[in-house]
Amino acid sequence: MISLLCANDETDAHQALVICSFGLYSSFVTRASSFLSMSISRFRAILYTAVAIVAVAGLADATYLTVQALTGETLTCGGSPDCFRVLGSSYAKLGGMPVAMLGALAYFAVFTFATFAAFGYSRASRFLALTVGAMFLMTLWLLYGQAYLLHAYCRYCLFSAAITFLIAGLLIAVPPSQRRSGA
């Protein structure tokens, strides 16, 4: 069915591409899960669990940076080398609050939503997608700030960016629910 749709497509090219990609991915997930003898819902639960575990790593990183910001260590030498240019800059605060603290809250939200999604709460997966989308955009802005505005990088911030990209990648890999894919 999917291959037929791809070959004899009469809709516009963009729509076809989206439908084909979606169809091919669904087909891949179905085959992969049957190969691994697991249901799609089980596969989804595993991916959400992976997101939750990765979010804990991000939470630890952001919590460490928050503590550094609160103790004033980000503005000194002898504490965190290389990071003062980034963490001591005006871009490291948003409305007077350290960006790291917002990051810690976001990672905790991701952990919470991913945990609930892994247990089958469908609404949690929607909140998770929204939160990760916002974090992804924020991460792009922070990377731009480091590269083009500050001309300095902080390894902890780069680690956090990698975590966000990994979470986004895992979420993209989550197959749509059977109810939605069947519709």
Partner: protein
Amino acid sequence: MKRYLPFIIVVVVALATFGSATMLYRAKRPQVKNIPESQSVSARSDASAHIRGNPEAPVTLEEFGDFQCPPCGQFAGFAEELLREYDSRLRVVFRNFPLAAHEHAREAAVAAEAAGFQGKFWEMHDTLYREQSAWSKAPNARELFESYAGTLGLNMDQFNKDMDSEKARERVDSDHALGDSLGIKVTPTLFINKRPLESQEKNPEGLRAAINAALEEKSKSGA
């Protein structure tokens, strides 16, 4: 039980994060003591203290700094701004606290002291911070320090002799020992009238608020 499991997991992670963050905060929070009266600038009459601004100013902003530390360089510019802003009501004191992690910091501190013997401590202080990125990465920083001394019009024979003297090193070590005894670990560490600044005061607004509070306190105690 499965119904409550996600709630339990989330609560456990929240508590673990909060607990470890609190412990980390306590461990990292600077535990710096007040400068004792016997070590205050006013009590020391050996002229080794480096004071900028009105020597009789009611408020003293004391810095333990490292010439190779970029935040100290940023602070040096801000300190000048504060001196202009508060005029005769503020004096700034610099004490050496070269960190072991910075390869040329101690030699830079000695160069500043050597320039100080010829009355040009602050000129060398400003030059070292202005040129920080150049000498920090230089394999032989001493050559650059000598060139700065030449630019400042110092007697070069005397400068070189002072650079190698025990007297300049002793001054650096004396400041460092005082910093160690106060529990200083990072630079710049700042004091307002012998009281260390809290982490929330380590920003332009916080510093101004601390200076204003010290001025108010002085005017009350003087009244």
